[in-house]
């Protein structure tokens, strides 16, 4: 049966969902409050002629099947660079170049280099277990349905087939903190610091927080051109990925309407029957699909009075507060990091000199303060993609942590101070950088929330953690993309398998909506 579907939000998952729904023969309209597609997966001009990925800048989770099935390459998706290495920056110029499982630096002992091979191999193997779940509609635990039992059995088998020893190791580390497992295996402080960053980027976690191993595994669970755990830069910034998705969706018949802010979900007789725009205009639909975060969807667009009180409480307690900011610098030339060869500037540069540095940076955020000395993941996308800046100029894009959503002092007063802290930190690694900056921009979680409407400004809509994964994401009872309200579905990063530009949530949701699994 052809359904009329309305998708709230043209984020990358909303577009993915819309495209798959259209592909399945449904009539799909995407309503976007802003004027661009992509939501947080966007590219914007932050200074005249200087463009940058607005939030995430590296691509590592976008699914190859989605690229193929939606013909994203035909619709303009291209990579400016792939297989980026990681450079762990050192103030003394003794940087580490981490290339897959290989470390190219004399500062690291032979034992550490061997440990790195083992570590990477094991983490990728474990990440594969998680990768196997990405395209699954999370099973329900006590439904009695055969499909749920089958999903659970597949998960159990994926873990069991690691082998007895590796299964035990997987179960030991999946829920614990990355600080401990890095301490178990490595000596070099800089190496441990850099590796720990994978477990905390974009989250409200420090290396000593439980779930940081899980977050690292999740981050490694993708593949670029068949290479697991690889990092890539999309040509044209992250917005280009969304543009390709939008093109694909349009070519499949999806219509995208801009400046269409949804005010509320229209409910009649216990069923979502469409949406009401902020202007008061109504739009009927057989399926209302929300790309918005869980709190916005349930508490703002739907409203507690249409939900059970217990579920309302669960939704209101989903951890949605972001802790990552984004720093964008327009540079009038290529920056210099003493000790780092020019040809390595194009890789992923990280400032995380040791585990305790990262943990200390996190500490302040627990108490409503930004880090005095932030950690960073830096890219210079213009090295690979000249289209992003005027000729000879460059863009520095950095994820900076920690910048909690709710700051004691308030972001209005503290923002300039935090940017200064970021510049001070950068200066220790690139002393001449300040002179090259012609324009700058700092986007805090408060800015993300204002810009993209995701309550809390979290990159993944909801914290990425084991207690918010699979059948628990965003909450038990709403984890299968369908909601307790007939006709209302979720397709955003707040659903399994979560955030990062991956598209699975949108694709899985489309499968549920088309298959009528909730009907």
């Amino acid at each position: 049966m052809t359904k009329r579907a309305v998708v709230i939000g043209a984020g990358h998952n909303g577009l993915t969902c819309a495209a798959y729904l259209a592909k399945a023969g449904h009539e799909v309209t995407v309503l976007e409050a802003g004027t661009e597609v992509g939501g947080a997966a966007a590219t914007h001009e932050f200074a005249p002629g200087f463009k940058v990925s607005t939030s995430a800048h590296l691509l590592y989770l976008l699914d190859a099947e989605i690229i193929r099935e939606l013909e994203l390459e035909e619709h303009g998706l291209a990579l400016a660079a792939e297989n980026l290495d990681t450079v762990a920056l050192d103030t003394g110029g003794r940087h580490l170049l981490i290339s897959g499982d290989h470390i190219n630096a004399e500062a690291v002992s032979r034992e550490d280099r061997e440990a790195m091979v083992r570590y990477r191999k094991r983490m990728l193997r474990f990440a594969k277990v998680i990768a196997g779940l990405h395209d699954q509609v999370p099973p329900r635990l006590a439904s009695g349905e055969r499909s749920d039992a089958w999903s659970l059995a597949r998960l159990a088998w994926a873990i069991r087939r690691l082998g007895r020893k590796e299964m035990r190791e997987f179960l030991r580390i999946a829920g614990i903190n990355i600080y401990d497992i890095l301490e178990e295996q490595f000596d070099n402080e800089l190496l441990k610091g850099a590796l720990s960053l994978d477990g905390v980027l974009g989250t409200h976690l420090g290396p000593r927080s439980n779930n940081s191993v899980f977050a690292a595994l999740h981050r490694m669970s993708g593949a670029i051109n068949g290479k697991p755990g690889a990092l890539a830069l999309p040509r044209g910034g992250m917005g280009a990925v969304s543009s390709a998705l939008a093109q694909a969706a349009k070519s499949l018949g999806v219509s995208i309407i801009f400046d269409a802010r949804v005010g509320q979900i229209d409910v009649s007789e216990g069923r979502a029957i469409g949406i009401i725009l902020a202007t008061g205009e109504t739009m009927p639909a057989d399926a209302v699909v929300s790309n918005a975060d869980p709190r916005t969807t349930f508490l703002d667009l739907l409203g507690a009075r249409h939900l059970d009180a217990g579920l309302t409480r669960k939704v209101s307690q989903v951890r949605q507060d972001g802790n990552a900011a984004k720093l964008h610098l327009a540079l009038d030339g290529l920056p210099e990091f003493p000790g780092l060869e020019r040809e390595r500037l194009g890789h992923r540069l990280v400032i995380a000199p040791d585990l305790d540095y990262v943990e200390r940076a996190f500490n302040s955020s627990k108490y409503g303060e930004h880090s005095a000395e932030p950690v960073m993941e830096i890219t210079l996308p213009t090295i690979h993609d000249a289209s992003l800046a005027p000729e000879g100029k460059h863009v520095l894009s950095a994820v900076v942590q920690y910048a909690p959503r709710h700051l004691n002092a308030g972001w209005e007063t503290a923002k300039a101070g935090f940017e200064e802290r970021c510049m001070n930190t950068l200066q220790r690694y690139a002393p001449n950088l300040r002179e090259q900056v012609t324009a700058s921009e700092l986007l805090t979680p408060a800015d993300f929330e204002a810009r993209f409407g995701n309550a809390g400004g979290h990159w993944h809509h909801a914290e990425l953690a084991l207690d918010r994964f699979l059948m628990l994401r965003p909450t038990a009872g709403t984890a299968q993309y369908a909601t307790p309200l007939d006709g209302l579905f979720l397709c955003g990063a707040g659903c399994h398998p979560g955030g990062g530009v991956m598209g699975h949530a949108g694709r899985n949701a489309a499968r549920v909506i088309s298959g009528g699994a909730s009907e």
């Binding site: 216990g270 508490l299 409203g303 507690a304 009075r305 249409h306 939900l307 059970d308 009180a309 217990g310 579920l311 309302t312 409480r313 209101s316 009872g477 307790p484």
Partner: protein, 401 residues
């Protein structure tokens, strides 16, 4: 004046507090028979249970209500909040009226039951057996309401029995005879405001009196003075237990397990399983548990609430109930000999599809005669209606004694 002051840092040293009526109840409590009810010490029995029981049925009785948990709910969204909280349609409960209802968790299982006083437009008081502040706060997410626990701010007396109206009239409550069942009326009383509702837990003509605890003793004295010729007596919880079983009222923690106290979720009951399906209104805005209850209505309930009439005179306390083939059919939750109905009655939770009115069952009753335990399989029958339901309960104005 609050009767319990939790701002006092030593409050925890006292486990149970005297009620605002304690001076008077203590003087009457010949047995010194006290029990604990939530934060308070209250009388289980004053003289003997039978005397107290008959005062309630044949004259008038005073039962202290202060410990009952009372919650105040107000604010712009109070009606929407109440409607989302409870199963019955609150839009139909007009100001000045009281409604009985249950409220459920997401799974449609009863958290508690209680009375809701619509004191004035948009201002409600919810009275319940168990403290509900946590659930009310949870339920308030997304609603603009103010919720307070006012248990200790209000002293209460249940004044029940056929002569209760006449006594109140004598006390000076002009026009009290015109108050209809489940109505609320306020009176100027000794310089304060006395709220009277025609409600109760005895299934008879009766009222509940609510007042600032500071005026509690004054109310007690004036009530007992006025009631002297009407056979007034203080009664304890033992007598009330017989009265409420006769009236067919269920008690939280006895006839059903409040959902929030359940470790085993399957031990809880839905409103349908407590015989309270009439309180579940599907034709009103969404309420917590609605979806689960709609499913249950479709698929059928697991249990049936039943009132039993049992042969003989041995109360079927905690009895197992069997069908005629001696297969397990359920258990008794409350039982008593009913002095007014002259019947051996019980409330029971039976497994569906048992519990059709008229069904013949067996109650396994253990009893003691001169320290010897015996067992009887007493035939019993599922009855419709309650054992005590006199017309005077509904009559307005009530007869003048």
């Amino acid at each position: 004046m609050r009767t319990v002051d939790y701002s006092d840092r030593d409050h925890y040293k006292t486990q149970a507090f005297p009620t605002p009526f304690h001076e008077r109840t203590a003087a009457l409590n010949q047995q010194h028979c006290w029990g604990r009810w939530k934060d308070y010490i209250t009388a289980n029995s004053y003289y003997d249970t039978a005397t107290e029981y008959f005062a309630a049925r044949n004259a008038c009785s005073v039962f202290e209500l202060t410990p009952m948990t009372k919650h105040g709910i107000s604010g712009p969204d109070s009606l929407a909040f109440m409607n989302r909280l409870v199963t019955r349609d609150m839009a139909k409960l007009k100001p000045g009226r009281v409604g009985y209802s249950v409220w459920c968790n997401d799974e449609g299982r009863v958290i508690d039951d209680g009375t809701i006083f619509h004191l004035q437009e948009g201002v409600y008081r919810l009275c319940s057996q168990e403290p509900q502040i946590d659930w009310l706060m949870t339920s308030s997410i997304g609603f603009d309401v103010r919720i307070v626990d006012e248990t200790h701010d209000i002293a209460g007396l249940a004044f029940q029995g056929p002569t209760s109206c006449a006594a109140l009239k004598r006390m000076g409550l002009a026009g009290i005879e015109n108050l209809t069942p489940f109505g609320i009326q306020t009176f100027d009383f000794a310089g304060t405001r006395l709220t009277v509702s025609r409600t109760g837990y005895t299934g008879d003509l009766g009222y509940e009196l609510w007042i600032d605890p500071e005026y509690a003793l004054e109310l007690w004295d004036r009530l007992f003075e006025a009631g002297k010729l009407h056979g007034i007596r203080a009664i304890g919880s033992a007598a009330l237990e017989i009265l409420r079983i006769e009236a067919g009222f269920i008690l939280a923690g006895v006839d059903f397990l409040p959902a929030h106290q359940a470790v085993r979720p399957d031990r809880t009951r839905s409103p349908f399983e407590l015989g309270l399906g009439w309180l579940v209104h599907f034709d009103k805005p969404y309420f917590t548990g609605r979806q689960a209850l709609a499913r249950e209505k479709e698929a059928g309930s697991r249990y049936v609430f039943a009132r039993l009439d049992i042969e003989g005179n041995k109360p079927a306390h905690q009895s197992f109930i069997f069908d005629k083939n001696k297969r397990f059919a359920g258990t008794v939750t409350s039982a008593t000999w009913s002095p007014s109905a002259k019947a051996n009655i019980a409330l029971a939770s039976l497994e569906a599809p048992h519990g059709e009115p008229g069904e013949e069952l067996l109650a396994e009753i253990y009893y003691q005669r001169e320290l010897k335990w015996s067992r009887v399989m007493a035939p019993c029958r599922v009855v419709e209606g309650v054992s005590w339901d006199p017309p005077r309960k509904r009559q307005t104005p009530p007869a003048d004694f």
